[in-house]
Amino acid sequence: MMESAAARIREQQGLLSQLDCIAGDGDHGTTMLRIMDRLESAFKTDAPDLRASFSEAGWNVMGSDGGASSSLLGAFFLGVGEATRAGVSSWDCIQFAAALQAGLQAIQAQTKARPGDKTLMDALAPAVESLVAAAQAGNDLASALKTAAEAAKAGASSTENLIARYGRARLLGEKTRGHQDPGATSVALIIDGFSQAASEMKGGIEHARHG
């Protein structure tokens, strides 16, 4: 699952940096590559424990020194880890949705940015909400994640018409309209990677084997 998300980011890293040139410093793609390397390595382990892996991933991502992206995504994975019981090595759809919801809450504790502010929250919040709703409605992981990936993509696209209200871009106001937010684009790619991986496996999330 992490490999698949990392692959989506690697495919699109040029686009991510290009989007970042408009209101940032043009390095979002390379920052995301470092983040995905560290995320992937936390799941390459012989002792399958989702709490340990997500906590390590969060700490590693935060330590990748990639500015706001690494602090926020690090907080997200750390939040997922902290909400998971030690020793758990697999999740069903409901558990996975609850874990991601805890990650979202962890980001919300670090930033006041909310959907509509042209940040990664525009993709992440609707993705997690639709994942939770789809899980509660009894969908399997693959179809719930498909819905979440669509919501994330729509959320990322919606940033094109927004004005940045957080981060470095916020000082530019109107100039930020007309271009998709790079952070939201990355989140949509990650969720899409999760969805692709889920559609290729059956049942729930298992550590290591599909990790």
Binding site: D25, G26, D27, D65, G74, R168, L171
Partner: protein, 329 residues
């Protein structure tokens, strides 16, 4: 891109290595690439720590030394370092009297610093944070004002106060007084190339300049036709004096900071005009610095900073420092 680099992924570690090797006996690398004073501060004195992205040399690690910073945490190019290394730096700087954590107002640095503060509190570390935000291009709301070259007087004043053995609360209070009394405005002429991506970070026509350009080349707010040194200095200084509400008879510190490719020749022209205007207005130029303290690669332009000084701030500004890029004897 035309730059002398080896491998982009090794850029930060190689530049830090080169920096400390060129100043042996003053600074060293320790732990996970933290830049620290070679000779640790005496026990019982407040530690001073900062964080920030790389690519802005000599900022910020150039100001580590006795009388200024104890530890600097350098991030990747133009990107804040994460909390794990900041936490490590705070532990390292703790000499029994607590640590002052100086943060420049940029979203990545703030996120990382806030996370670091909550982790430090969890560990029971005594840390106080000060955020510098003196860039008037951000408008009236302090949260929108970025931290530019004003970090320099804040590092200097806080570092000197800590060296004198003042308490953490005292160091914070005096650093905050310095911070409240300073204002900066930046102007850009030409773009910088991101050394990892090889891409220009913004574009500006040959006959244009942009007031309010960020330290990372983030586009500013006032693009206009290129003006002369005198016209530019006059316009920017007036905006700063108005914002800080400077009155005649007051003492000012003035810093002209080159962005990377603007020559010292041009910076002197700017300073000359600033001096002339202040003299005409009866404002005292108490101290001044012209040079490169924080750069953005080969970006053209400069930052103009003014700060209202009082006798105590001047005394701390004049106190000794052996930081490689700010030696005061």
């Amino acid at each position: 891109m035309k730059k002398f680099i080896n491998r982009p992924e090794n850029l930060v570690s190689e530049l830090l290595e080169g920096f400390v090797l060129s100043h042996p006996g003053t600074v060293r690398l320790t732990g996970s690439n933290l830049v620290a004073r070679a000779k640790p501060k005496d026990a019982g004195k407040v530690g001073v720590v900062t964080l920030g992205g790389s690519g802005h040399e000599p900022g910020l690690s150039g100001f580590v030394g006795e009388g200024m910073l104890d530890v600097s945490v350098a991030g990747e190019i133009f990107a804040a370092p994460g909390s794990p290394r900041c936490l490590e730096a705070i532990r390292l700087a703790e000499r029994g009297a607590g640590v002052l954590f100086i943060v420049l107002n940029h979203s990545g640095d703030i996120l990382s610093a806030n996370m670091t503060m909550s982790l430090a509190q969890r560990e029971g570390l005594k840390v106080r944070k000060i955020v510098t935000h003196e860039d008037i291009a951000g408008g009236p709301n302090p949260d929108d004002r970025r931290g530019l070259v004003g970090f320099l007087p804040v590092y200097k004043i806080a570092g000197a106060a800590a060296e004198q053995g003042r308490s953490l609360d005292d160091c914070l209070a005096i650093a905050e007084r310095m911070e409240r009394n300073m204002r900066t405005l930046a102007v850009a002429l030409t773009t910088a190339t991101h050394p990892s991506t090889g891409q220009p970070i913004f574009t500006l026509a040959d006959d244009e300049m942009e007031i309010g350009m960020g330290q990372h080349g983030e586009a500013g707010t006032g693009r206009m036709k290129l003006k002369t040194a005198d016209e530019t200095a006059e316009m920017m200084l007036q905006m700063l004096l108005d914002d800080l509400q400077v009155k005649s008879g007051e003492d000012l510190l003035v810093i002209v900071n080159g962005a990377g490719s603007t020559t010292l020749m041009e910076l002197f022209l700017i300073f000359r005009k600033v001096h002339q205007i202040l003299k005409d207005k009866g404002i005292r130029l108490a101290r001044s610095k012209v040079g490169e303290f924080i750069t953005t690669q080969e970006q053209g332009g400069f930052q103009l900073m003014i700060a209202r000084m009082d006798p105590e701030l001047l005394q701390l500004w004049d106190a000794p420092s052996n930081a490689p890029y700010f030696v005061v004897r």
